[in-house]
Symmetry: C2
Amino acid sequence: MKTYYDCLPCLIRQAVEAVRMVTDDEAVQEKVIRQVLLETARIDLQKTPPHMARIIHRHIKEALGNIDPYKDIKDRFNQFAMQMYAKLQKQVQNSADPFETALRLAIAGNIIDFGVRVDIEEQHIEETIEECLKSPIVFNSPDDLQKAIDAAKNILFLGDNAGEIVFDKLLIEQMPMDKISYAVKGFPIINDATMEDAIDTGMTGLIKVLDNGCDAPGTILELCSEKFQEVFRQADLVIAKGQGNYETLSGVNDKDIFFLLKVKCPVIAQDLGCECGSIVVKRITA
Amino acid sequence: MKTYYDCLPCLIRQAVEAVRMVTDDEAVQEKVIRQVLLETARIDLQKTPPHMARIIHRHIKEALGNIDPYKDIKDRFNQFAMQMYAKLQKQVQNSADPFETALRLAIAGNIIDFGVRVDIEEQHIEETIEECLKSPIVFNSPDDLQKAIDAAKNILFLGDNAGEIVFDKLLIEQMPMDKISYAVKGFPIINDATMEDAIDTGMTGLIKVLDNGCDAPGTILELCSEKFQEVFRQADLVIAKGQGNYETLSGVNDKDIFFLLKVKCPVIAQDLGCECGSIVVKRITA
C-alpha cells in the first residue's frame, strides 16, 4: 500500500505521541519533531507508511539514546495478556469451533497497536475481545483459512505486536505447529514484538521463532535479512497479522497470504474496501 | 495561545483537506503538501496556530492561483443560514429569554468551521442548534455578558465564519446596535467571513462593519490594519467568536473580552480547561 496524504498527519501525530512518551525534555521533543517534519517533507509517497515510520522512529531513538522507548509498554501488555491466557485457552477449548474462536481472539489481540494510539488501556482489550467474538468477519471465512492451513506444507506466521503475540499463541495451538515458523521484528520498533517478547511469552517454547532482521513496523521484504527472505520464499502460506504487515505486503503478487487484522484507521479501511473497525481475514493469492 | 505539538498534525490535515478540496491535480497537491511540511518544520511554536494556518493557506492559494478556494462553501452556508434566519428569529422572539436564546444560536453557528473539518453538512448545524439550546454554558453566564454589554459604550464584535455570520445577526439584534462594530477578515482565509459575506447576509444593513485588513483565521493584532487596531483600542468591550479568535486573543491582558465559541478541538479544550464540545462564554478582563 502506498502512503496516502492522510497518512502524513497521522505519522506526525505518531511522532509527537512517541517523543512525548519517552522524554519530558522540551528541547529534545522539539528537535525531533522538527526533524520528523523535514523527513516527511521529502517522503517517497510510493513507499508504504511503515517505510516512513521506520525513519521517523530512528530519529526518535537516536535523539533519545534509547533504543527501545516502548519497552515498558511491551512488558506491560505481555504480562496482561499472559494473565488472560489460561482463561482464553479454556474458552477456545470449550467453544463449538475452537479454530474460529482462536482466530477471532488472535484478531482481537491486534488492538494492542501503539502506532495507532498511545492511550490503549487493558479495558479496551477486554471490550475488543467481546466484540471480535461476535462481530462478522469480512472478506474471507475462518474456513478458507482452515483449508489453506490444511493444504500448506510450510507456514510463515508474521507476528505484529507485543501482548498480541500471546493471542497469536491461542491460534497457533489450533494449527499444525510443526509446519509453522513465527517471525518477530529484528529490532525494537514502536510496540512490535521482538525475540525478547517471543521468549517472555513462551512463543519460543511452542514453535520455531525467527526475527526478520529489520526495524520497520511491518514486513519490508527488501530490508529484511537474507535468512528471513529465504524463509518467506520457502513458505507456501503466509499468515500476516496487523495493519503494518498489510501495508507492506498487500502488493505481493506471488504468494498465498492471509491478512488477519482489526482495522483501526480510515485509510486502511478504504484501501481494503471495508469499514473502519472491521475484523478482517483477507486472502491474496499468487 | 501558543502552538502545541498536537496542533502540528492538525495543521497538516487541514492543508491536505484544503488542497484536495480545491484541485484534483496530484502534482499540485503534492507540491503544496511538501511546502506545508517544510514550513511546519520551521514553525515558531510561540506564535498561535492561526499564524501558521495563514502561512499554510497562502501556499495553497498561491499554488492554485485561486485566492478564495472556499468561496463555494461560504456561499452555500450563507444561503443555508439565511434560509433558517426568519424561523430562528421567531424562535428568539418567542423564547422566555430572547438574549440567551440568541446567544446560544450564535454559538451554535460556530460549528460552521471548515478549519476543523471539511465534511460539515447542513444536518450538523441543525443538530448543533438543538444541542446548544439545551446544553450548559461553561465559564460565564449569559447574564455576565448582558451586564457587560449594558455597561459598554463601544463594542467590537469579531465575527468568525461565513454562514455563522447570520447566526451572529440574531445576537446583535438583541444588543444595542448603535454601539457595535462588526469585524470581518480582510482577505479570504478558509471559510472565514469577509466583507462580501457581510454584504450578502445583510450584516452591513444592520450595523457598521469593518474588515481587519488581515488574512489570518483569527485576530493577529499586529498584522491587522491600523484602522482596525484603532477600533480595537477604542472598544471597551470585545465579543470574539470562535476558536481562531480565542487562539489569537486569549493572551491579551488589557481588554474586556468575551469569547463565544463551540469547542471543537481537544487542544483548545485543554487550554480553556473544559470538555471538547463545550459551549463557551469566557470572559477575560484587563
